[in-house]
């Protein structure tokens, strides 16, 4: 006897998507001076959702000018106490509109509604709530008795957690007294534009937050603008390096949150079923569109067969399909371009001799989809063990001793995160100490919290987001001592 799931679709009725959106500059939506618009689609259906303005140089200039004016005339003169109240207002409005934001995020991004509803949007509200409280307490944060804001922050964010990445950028920037020009990713602009509406509802002074939409060129114009004081970027390591080059020799403070190739390390004493849950969450959460995803599974040899068996059995129960269905585990790949990249890397895995496996799961006719995939017989030299795939693809390697696990885990230019699964406390702390990574999850994975700093070692970037360390990214912390 089998039990089938009945469809449980979330309703789209809660969102009103305009047929086109201008740029949010100086507290108002304005037509782009460029006159250009581009379409944004639902990646699960390929239906056009709206047309979004493509900001050109004149638009970027206008946005930076608005942010500068708001910084000079209003925000830098406002007390921390009052800044805090605006940020608290924003947090509350996000909570009030959370269902709408979750639906909008899922429509524009393709991620399962369960994730946008239960993970993304609650964390967005939490980030604003946490940082609001810092605005009038910065002198207690350990950055000196009178820490200063930087000025205008240029922020460029990715498409994997659109509104959450916006929150990670805007909440600390505002709390520390900076004004903001933010550019969302070109495939996921809609929740950022909804956030602009939230700023209006909160009566945030005009120009404190400016949202300009566009593609890579718009982002480049923004970070290269001579009148910005801070550049914050989350995205690919390749673009991050280009940005670091571009801001070299300027006084712009830079923080980068780039790619990863995290090892998730399973020791033979770990409770297998619990660990498999965490490992599945580690790589298949958000279709693997996660920079800190546990994309390399390191299995201790003695339990490798048993763990793989459990893993495959668990993957057969994952439900791929309509992201708006509350039962869906794996949603749509965010774009055709990303799907092609995943397909290309997966093919390289086969070509280089690794063994490919996916559960049988029906793939919808329209939209962009990639089934959860596991590669075994992977060596450290394979591209799928070295390059960030940013998709639901897990590369499995094995090890014998803790020392070998450390060696393999750290054998990457990245250093964003790592996972450790073992019942032995002393080994957890020993492994955590050895990991050259900014976030170490032990007996859990992919946990996020506004109080908890996030960011990388090595080529995964520098600077932190969240916690006390994250405030340092938006304060003038450098001196000539």
């Amino acid at each position: 006897m089998t039990f089938d799931y009945a469809p449980a679709p979330e309703s789209q009725a809660i969102v009103n998507i305009d047929s086109n959106y201008g740029l949010f500059i100086g507290g108002k939506f304005v037509e782009p001076k460029s006159g250009e618009y581009f379409k944004t689609i639902n990646p699960a259906t390929e239906e056009v959702l709206s047309a979004v303005a493509e900001a050109g140089q004149a638009d970027v200039d206008a946005a930076v000018k608005a942010a500068r004016k708001a910084y000079d005339k209003t925000w830098s003169k406002m007390s921390g106490k009052d800044r805090a109240k605006y940020i608290f207002r924003i947090a509350r409005i996000i909570q009030e509109r959370s269902r709408e934001l979750a639906v909008l995020e899922t429509l524009d991004n393709g991620k399962p509604i369960r994730e946008s509803r239960d993970v993304d949007i609650p964390l967005v509200a939490a980030h604003f709530f946490y940082h609001a409280g810092w605005a009038d307490k910065l002198e207690f944060a350990g950055y000196g008795p009178d820490p200063k804001s930087l000025g205008v922050a240029a922020q460029v964010i990715p498409w994997n957690f659109p509104l959450l990445m916006l929150a990670w950028k805007i909440a600390p920037a505002l709390a520390c007294g900076n004004t903001v020009v933010l550019k969302p990713a070109e495939t996921t602009s809609l929740t950022a534009l909804a956030f602009a509406d939230i700023c209006q509802q909160a009566d945030l002074p005009p120009g404190v937050v400016n949202i300009i939409t566009g593609a890579g060129d718009t982002g480049r114009m923004l970070v290269e603008h001579p009148d910005v004081n801070k550049v914050a970027f989350t995205g690919s390591t390749e673009v991050g390096k280009a940005i670091q080059r571009a801001v070299a020799g300027t006084n712009k403070k830079l923080t980068l949150e780039l790619g990863g190739k995290a090892a998730n390390i399973l020791f033979d004493d770990a409770p297998i079923d619990q660990a498999i849950e965490g490992i599945v969450n580690g790589i298949y959460f958000n279709q693997g569109h996660v920079c800190c995803a546990g994309s390399r599974l390191l299995l201790q040899e003695s339990i490798a067969d048993e763990a793989l068996h459990s893993l495959k059995r668990r993957l057969q129960t994952l439900r791929l399909g309509d992201p708006m269905d509350k039962n869906t585990d794996i949603g749509a790949i965010n774009s055709r371009a990303q799907l092609s990249k995943i397909e290309e890397l997966a093919k390289s895995g086969e070509d280089e001799g690794a063994q490919r496996w996916s559960p049988t799961c029906p793939i919808p006719d329209k939209g962009f989809w990639f089934p959860p995939t596991v590669f075994t017989n992977v060596t450290q030299a394979h591209r799928i063990a070295r390059e960030e795939i940013f998709g639901p693809v897990l590369s499995v390697l094995t090890f014998r001793t803790p020392e070998e696990a450390v060696e393999k885990a750290n054998n990457t230019p990245f250093g964003l995160s790592a996972g450790i699964w073992t019942e032995k406390g002393s080994r957890i702390l020993w492994m955590a100490d050895k990991m050259r990574a900014g976030v170490v999850w032990a007996n859990t994975f992919n946990r996020f919290d506004p109080t908890s700093p996030f960011g990388g070692f090595k080529e995964s970037g520098f600077g932190r987001e969240g916690g006390i360390a994250g405030l340092g990214a938006y304060l003038d912390t450098e001196d000539n001592s």
Binding site: A126, A442, D479
Partner: protein, 287 residues
């Protein structure tokens, strides 16, 4: 008849040893009047690579030494320097053309700075690190880890105090470094290397390359096994900018030169922060 003194050969300091430059090159160092003081080794690209290799090899052990141990090792540097007071003061006086009193003041400040940073070894993590009250059943803490191998250019003035102010905050947290002292006043740096070699600092934790930063630093800025650059001593903005660009190739952390430093003032934690990485660890809480 007065005795003919035995002069010293001024060499590089790599992996705890004192090699000549593999290039066989030296350059003349003079006092402020142009009078010859010594021929000093002029480091090459190969020397820079050897120094990075030595620094990387030393990192594993130094970065996992206890904070108490690192503090004692730094304090030991101050002790050994104190024993070489006369030599340091004479070298500063001759090289920089300052009075004995000024030279002594500089040395005193340098020795005291080692003591100051020695005391930080087991404290900075308590200030920069913390536990984080996450909204869930997890224990979560953040600690500063050393960044790795740091390539540094010491200030061009205040030969021993500037050098000390750059090296001490880098190594106190467990980093290893390759440092280029002032090419005009390199002699006290070589004497410092001799102090480091005899004060329990493991070989390779500090490597000293005398020579031209503009020639050697680009190799270090591009070297994939260097994690960070400290450009404090780079005075030419265009050189600093180019090094920063090169550093982007492997996403190195870069501390830009900041003019107007007062090396006698008490430092802040900004240098320690610049070359440490916050690592955050999560673990579930459950019965």
């Amino acid at each position: 008849m007065s005795r003919v003194e035995v002069r010293k050969t001024h060499k590089l300091f790599i992996g705890g040893a004192f090699p000549r430059s593999e290039s066989g090159r030296t350059y003349e160092v003079t006092d402020t009047n142009g009078t010859f003081i010594a021929n000093v080794a002029q480091a090459s690209r190969k020397d820079a690579r050897d120094a990075v290799l030595a620094a990387r090899s030393a990192f594993a052990k130094w970065s996992t030494a206890t904070a108490y141990n690192r503090g004692q090792v730094l304090y030991r540097i101050a002790e050994v320097m104190e024993g070489r007071r006369e030599q340091f003061i004479a070298e500063i006086e001759q090289g920089e053309g300052v009075s004995t009193k000024k030279a002594a003041n500089q040395l005193d400040a340098a020795i005291d700075r080692w003591v100051w940073y020695a005391g930080w070894a087991d404290k900075y993590a308590q200030l920069i690190g913390n536990t984080n009250p996450v909204a869930g059943p997890y224990f979560n803490f953040s600690i500063p880890d050393p960044t790795g191998v740091v390539a540094a250019v010491a200030p061009q003035d205040q030969s021993i105090l500037g050098l000390t102010s750059v090296i001490a905050p880098v190594i106190v947290t467990g980093n290893s470094c390759v440092v280029m002292p002032s090419p005009v006043h390199p002699i006290p740096a070589i004497t410092l290397a001799e102090c480091l070699a005899t004060s329990d600092v493991p070989g390779g934790v500090v490597n000293v390359l005398t020579g031209a930063p503009a020639e050697v630093m680009p190799w270090l800025a591009e070297h994939a096994d260097v994690n960070a650059l400290d450009l404090t001593g780079i005075v030419d903005e265009s050189v600093a900018t180019e090094l920063e660009r090169q550093a982007a190739g492997t996403v190195k952390r870069v501390r830009q030169p900041k003019p107007g430093a007062d090396w006698y003032a008490t430092p802040t934690l900004s240098r320690i922060r610049a070359f440490t990485e916050i690592k955050t660890v999560w673990h579930p809480i459950g019965a």
